[in-house]
């Protein structure tokens, strides 16, 4: 079943005080997320990730297009009872304790009074805040607020969880815990849609990712498919310390270490390089493809279109 179906969602703001000019925050976006996926929404700051999430949450109205979540309109309260949302850098009512805040959110989400206190306790334990339940939120650190934010998003056992920069403000241990939590959510059958610009998190977690830049969708797909879709490099190692002249012409980056030479060159030039080594009667030790990281892919996708000419999309 489709969890999120975005159909040409578009947002244009008017900027300026006197002579207002339109500024497009999001070009028509078409995206589909299946139920049970961990979906990463990637892009640099100002790419349009938060605008998209706000439109899906009904906080900002789209200029054009529409979206359906769990096959319901985005402002349908029945749908909202089945989703959880963690905003970027969340801030909560600081006069409340963690328990009071979650109890309030539980009430608003329609969690039955009998279940509420149990669920609040469980979720606080799950995010590692069980020992500060009576402390007012004004005394919480940024990382603790982020954990409260995650707790409120999953409190009511939603089918889809939207996280906007969930790792923001967390230390390495906290990030690890959130990654584990997202994987647990997936195992529980929930859909996780999260925005981030931390690519290692996305690479480690996501079934699929979408890359957005300047309000425009650049690509969508599984991380492996995306990274293998662009021409990668190969690492060629041979015995000796001689570097054939042809290697320079092929753009190989060569390093001599003891009696071996290691060269990194474009996959497309590998046959020519092998031929050059054979001509010089050099003994080849290994030829290994160098895997393109999501970061490498991401950087290429964000470059202006002229610079990426020749790169397979």
């Amino acid at each position: 079943m489709t969890a999120i179906d975005i159909l040409g969602l578009e947002k244009t703001y008017s900027v300026g005080f006197w002579r207002k000019k339109p500024k497009t925050a999001l070009h028509p976006l078409h995206l589909r997320v299946e139920e049970g996926e961990i979906f990463g929404f990637l892009g640099p700051n100002g790419a349009g990730k938060t605008t998209t999430l706000k439109m899906l949450m009904g906080l900002v109205y789209p200029t054009a297009g529409s979206a359906r979540i769990l096959d319901m309109e985005i402002n349908d309260p029945r749908m909202k009872a089945q989703i959880g949302f963690l905003p970027e850098q969340p801030y909560f009512y600081d006069y409340l304790t963690a328990v009071e805040l979650l109890d309030y959110y539980g009430q608003l989400s329609g969690v039955a009074p009998k279940e509420r206190s149990r669920k609040v306790r469980e979720v606080l334990e799950r995010v590692g805040l069980a020992d500060v339940i009576r402390v007012q939120l004004r005394k919480f650190s940024k990382g603790m607020l982020q954990r409260v934010g995650i707790a409120q998003a999953i409190l009511h056992d939603p089918r889809i969880v939207f996280f906007d920069e969930p790792m923001s403000g967390l230390d390495p241990m906290g990030r690890r815990e959130v990654r584990d939590l997202m994987e647990q959510l997936k195992h529980e059958g929930k859909t996780v849609f999260f925005s981030t610009h931390i690519l290692s998190d996305a690479e480690a977690l996501c079934d699929r990712v979408a890359i957005i830049h300047l309000g425009e969708l650049r690509s969508v797909g599984a991380v492996v498919d995306l990274t293998s879709s662009i021409e990668g490099n190969v690492e060629l190692v041979w015995h000796g310390n001689k570097i054939p002249a042809a290697m320079n012409a092929l753009g190989a980056d060569c390093h001599v270490t003891g009696d071996t030479v290691r060269a990194v060159l474009l996959e497309g030039n590998q046959e020519a390089a092998l031929e050059a080594l054979r001509r010089e009667q050099l003994r080849i030790i290994s030829l290994i493809p160098v895997r393109t990281s999501l970061e490498e892919y991401f950087v290429r996708k964000l470059q202006p279109s002229k610079a990426v000419a020749g790169v397979t999309r």
Binding site: K80, A81, L108
Partner: protein, 258 residues
């Protein structure tokens, strides 16, 4: 009432209490005790009149200040601090949020007024040594003051739904002052002609008629309040507050929360 409205209203009440808003009750209690002692010493024969006048005016002013300064932040603070995002991403409709906020602040003001009224009656007892039957009209004056608070709270919410807290405070306070002199505005309209008359009459009916809701002076003089005035003031305040609230909802429903 809708459950979510009740939850939002209770949370608004809790916020006001924890923001130490009700601390003004201590200041008020001190003011009333001091005034009662002072009035007992300096006024001969008019202690009752002075205490009722001073007490009810103080109740009204304290409440108006609270209504404006909390009311203007009810929506804008939630947008600025982004606390609203986690509320509206739940099955809560925007109008429920506005109405819940309104009832939360109105509840705070009613509780506040109740305790301040106790202070007024304690001061009255101190200067008169016993209650008169006419002191019952003080309760009516207090009821009218609560009706004023409902209107001001709804107006503060209305302004808060589209402008900054500072401008909202200026607008709400200006309307309170103009509304207090709305009878004079109507009188002025009656004395003018042509376009000025139209404009003055329009303005007089647009601003809240707080003159009609102010019976402090007549109650201080132990004059009864007609039942018809109680009915018409109740209807007027409820209609005016509802219209302001509807305006706030209409604006907030269309607003993009950046």
């Amino acid at each position: 009432m809708n459950g979510r409205i009740v939850y939002i209203a209770s949370n608004t009440f809790r916020e006001a209490v924890r923001d130490r808003v009700l601390y003004n009750l201590i200041a008020f209690a001190l003011l009333m005790s001091g005034a009662a002692i002072l009035v007992g010493q300096i006024s001969i024969g008019i202690e009752h009149l002075v205490v009722v006048n001073l007490g009810l005016t103080a109740v009204s002013l304290f409440g108006v200040v609270i209504a404006i300064f909390i009311g203007i932040g009810l929506v804008s603070k939630e947008i600025d601090k982004r606390t609203l995002y986690t509320v509206l991403s739940r099955p809560v409709r925007r109008w429920e949020f506005i109405v819940g906020k309104f009832f939360g602040l109105a509840g705070t003001l009613v509780v506040n007024t109740f305790f301040m009224a106790l202070g007024v009656f304690a001061a009255l007892l101190y200067v008169s040594h016993h209650f008169h039957l006419s002191d019952g009209w003080v309760l009516v004056a207090l009821y009218f003051i609560i009706l004023q608070f409902l209107i001001i709270t709804a107006l503060a919410l209305l302004f808060s739904s589209f402008s900054s807290p500072l401008l909202s405070a200026v607008f709400a306070f200006a309307l309170f002052v103009i509304g207090t002199f709305s009878e004079d505005l109507r009188g002025f309209a009656g004395m003018t002609h042509g376009l000025t008359r139209w404009l003055a009459t329009g303005a007089a009916y647009l601003v809240p008629n707080f003159s009609a809701l102010n019976v402090i002076s007549s109650v201080a003089h132990e004059q009864p309040v007609p039942g018809q005035l109680i009915l018409s003031n109740t209807a007027y305040a409820l209609v005016y507050a509802s219209m302001a609230l509807c305006g706030a909802v209409l604006i907030f429903e269309r607003r993009n929360l950046k």
